[in-house]
């Protein structure tokens, strides 16, 4: 059987985030295909529940990609997004799941080099930690 590919979900804002992804593609960057991008209007829309449900549905890692904090299209959206992600991270460590599985990133639409970096960071985490196992099976 072939090696299991990791599953990484990325919530990506429609303003700077998706433009960053687009520019990365158009400048010829290649990255791992395990990323599953889901568009949200703003990272402030992302709720802790979305991230947790994605982990529950089988994602190994989840990241949120928003605008730079001082350059957010909706002014404070990516700051709100980071708050939710930090909250989820603190919650994960309580239930015994590695908080590294969830991460928040910021990029502007001109930072083409940033997206492949994000992808490799998150796929590395997903590969290293493997799928989330039910708690009873853990030591």
């Amino acid at each position: 059987m072939a090696e299991r590919e990791p599953k990484v979900v990325g919530y990506c804002c429609e303003k700077h985030g998706i433009e960053c992804v687009n520019l990365a593609a158009r400048s010829g960057k290649q990255y791992d295909a395990s990323i599953r991008l889901v568009r949200v209007p703003c990272t402030g829309r992302v709720d802790g529940m979305h991230i947790l449900r994605a982990l529950e549905d089988g994602a190994d890692a989840v990241f949120v990609l928003g605008c730079l904090e001082k350059n957010c299209y909706y002014d404070t959206g990516s700051i709100e997004g980071r708050k939710r992600v930090d909250y989820v991270k603190s919650m994960l460590s309580q239930v015994g799941i590695e908080p590294e599985r969830v991460e928040m990133f910021n990029a502007s639409s001109s930072m083409a080099w940033k997206f492949p970096e994000i992808v490799s960071t998150m796929t590395d985490v997903a590969k290293r930690l493997g799928p989330i196992e039910p708690r009873g099976d853990r030591q």
Binding site: K7, A24, G28, P41, M49, C67, C72, Y73, Y74, T76
Partner: protein, 525 residues
């Protein structure tokens, strides 16, 4: 509500044909639930093809459309318009999938995985598509076509000219009683007190002299400029340093000191300065050039920590150097100061050469412009955030360099941070034109994919009211949160933070996002 989706793949522009198996994608789409038709075309933006797609849409009675074109930003808005008009499909039931940017280009080295990923992306998009609801935008008429400009400086006057040229009615508010040559109405000794409303229909309260008046307008341009009063600092006390605009005036009047002119960045060199942007360097260099041209025997020194002339003004560095203007870079730890023995000299250590210079001077001028103290009241009235250095903050660069976070309010000139005269003029022109563009339609569009409160779930905790950067939510008469649609920008920040889950963002509901994610995770690749 019937749910029949038409999937349209553009073979050429989407780049799918090079890497992906389009026929297989079509098969996958056709087998998916709710799909009424799936076709692949060459050039989806071609008029003939549009007719063919519309024909297909009508015969299959589809009510929603999933288009896979080149990319959302390139051509799709035009496509959407065409399908909306001809196939009578609700604009909120049409979406694009960016296969090129997300799959074809970044995974072209691995076609097998790219194909599997594209298939599951398509299925996830179809899942989302089936859950979308048709929405309608509303509109209201603008009550006036006024453009109010705050501040009759260089930028404000230029904005008034540009907006008048475009057929708008401008009202220029100026706090002093100086003479202003500008088209439209000029109101001297007037200041802004408060503002209500939204882009297209603002209601401002102004204070003209002793009297308070209300003023309706469609757009506001802030051109409050900088603080032109004399700054404080050791160089002002010791050497009588003056602001740069005095030098410009003196050159205009032909008064040039023969003993030498020193232009320093700030009157308080030890203080923290935020960035090289905070100085009107272009004007400083131009003044230096002019002095050398008019009075070649006058030595001109430019003392700076960091210097940045914008754009083509960079060329003036060389012009200035050729004319013999001396550029001296100093270190903040060893700032320029008046010679304790001889007050007519200024001492500075050149941080590049390490040399100590003792410069005789006839006049010292500083290139910094302090932020306007009126910015505080303007920012409070119009609800615009301020920068750390006391200027008015602009919004994201994606909105453009002179847009504030608040729609319908533009900011130009030194109100943001110090600008040279030339750039203030250009920004004023841009602000006038943009305000005119906003107002010229005469209609305010709102609604669509915006937030809505379910009153039964709302506990009136005010979290949304505090979170929204646009101040759209408020507590209504029923004691529950309500969203003012004209102000809602559809970002969904209140939705994500609502502890009672009482707010929903149309077409980005929790259910829609989670189902789409689950479907995408379900794909194996």
């Amino acid at each position: 509500m019937k749910r029949r989706i038409q999937v349209v793949i553009c073979r050429v522009c989407s780049g799918a044909a090079n890497v992906l198996d389009v026929e297989k994608l079509l098969r996958v789409a056709n087998e998916a639930p709710y799909v009424g038709s799936a076709i692949a075309v060459n050039y989806a933006c071609n008029a003939k093809t549009i007719a063919q797609i519309v024909e297909e849409a009508k015969s299959r009675e589809v009510d929603r459309m999933l288009i896979i074109p080149c990319s959302k930003s390139d051509v799709s808005p035009a496509l959407f318009q065409a399908y909306k008009k001809k196939a009578k499909i609700n604009e909120f039931l049409m979406e694009t999938v960016d296969l090129v940017g997300e799959i074809v280009l970044p995974h072209r080295d691995n076609p097998a995985r790219a194909q599997a990923k594209a298939e599951s992306k398509l299925l996830a998009a179809i899942t989302r598509m089936a859950m979308l609801e048709p929405l309608q935008k509303s509109s209201e008429k603008m009550r006036t076509k006024n453009v109010v400009i705050i501040g009759a400086g260089v930028a404000g006057v230029e904005a008034a000219r540009q907006a008048t040229q475009a057929g708008m009615h401008t009202i220029l508010i100026e706090k002093s009683d100086k003479e202003v040559k500008a088209p439209g109405v000029v109101m001297p000794k007037t200041r802004l007190v408060s503002a209500k409303g939204h882009a297209g229909n603002f209601i401002l309260t102004i204070e003209a002299g002793e009297k308070r008046e209300t003023l309706e307008c469609a757009a506001v341009v802030i051109a409050s400029g900088g603080d032109w009063s004399d700054a404080k600092g050791p160089l002002v006390q010791a050497c009588g340093a003056k602001p740069l605009y005095r030098l410009v005036q003196e050159i205009g009047e032909g008064i040039i000191s023969r003993e030498g002119v020193v232009i320093v960045d700030t009157p308080d060199p030890k203080a923290d300065i935020t960035s090289a942007q905070d100085f009107a360097w272009e004007d400083a260099i131009q003044s230096a050039i002019e002095i050398r041209k008019k009075s070649p025997e006058t030595e001109v020194y430019l003392l700076f920590q960091e210097m940045r002339a914008l754009g083509l003004d960079e060329l003036s560095y060389r012009d200035a150097a050729d004319l013999g203007v001396r550029f001296v870079r100093y270190d903040k730890k060893r700032p320029p100061h008046a010679d304790p023995k001889d007050k007519s000299k200024i001492v500075v250590i050149d941080s590049v050469q390490g040399q100590t210079l003792s410069i005789p001077y006839g006049g010292v001028y500083y290139a910094s412009i302090a932020p306007n103290p009126d910015n505080v009241s303007i920012s409070e009235a119009l609800r615009i955030p301020m920068t750390e250095s006391g200027g008015l903050r602009r919004g994201s660069m994606q909105k453009g360099p002179i847009a504030t976070p608040r729609p319908g309010v533009l900011v130009c000139g030194s109100a943001q941070f110090p600008r040279s005269e030339n750039i203030s003029r250009l920004e004023g022109r841009a602000a006038g034109a943009l305000a005119a563009q906003l107002v010229s339609t005469g209609i305010v569009e709102f609604g669509g994919s915006v937030a809505e409160v379910t009153p039964d779930k709302c506990s009136a905790c005010l979290t949304c009211v505090r979170t929204c950067p646009f101040e759209a939510p408020f507590i209504g008469n029923a004691g529950k949160a309500e969203i003012q649609l004209q102000l809602c920008q559809g970002c969904g920040m209140c939705v994500g933070i609502c502890p009672s889950k009482a707010i929903e963002l149309h077409n980005y509901t929790d259910d829609q996002l989670s189902t789409e994610t689950a479907s995408y995770i379900g794909g194996d690749f």
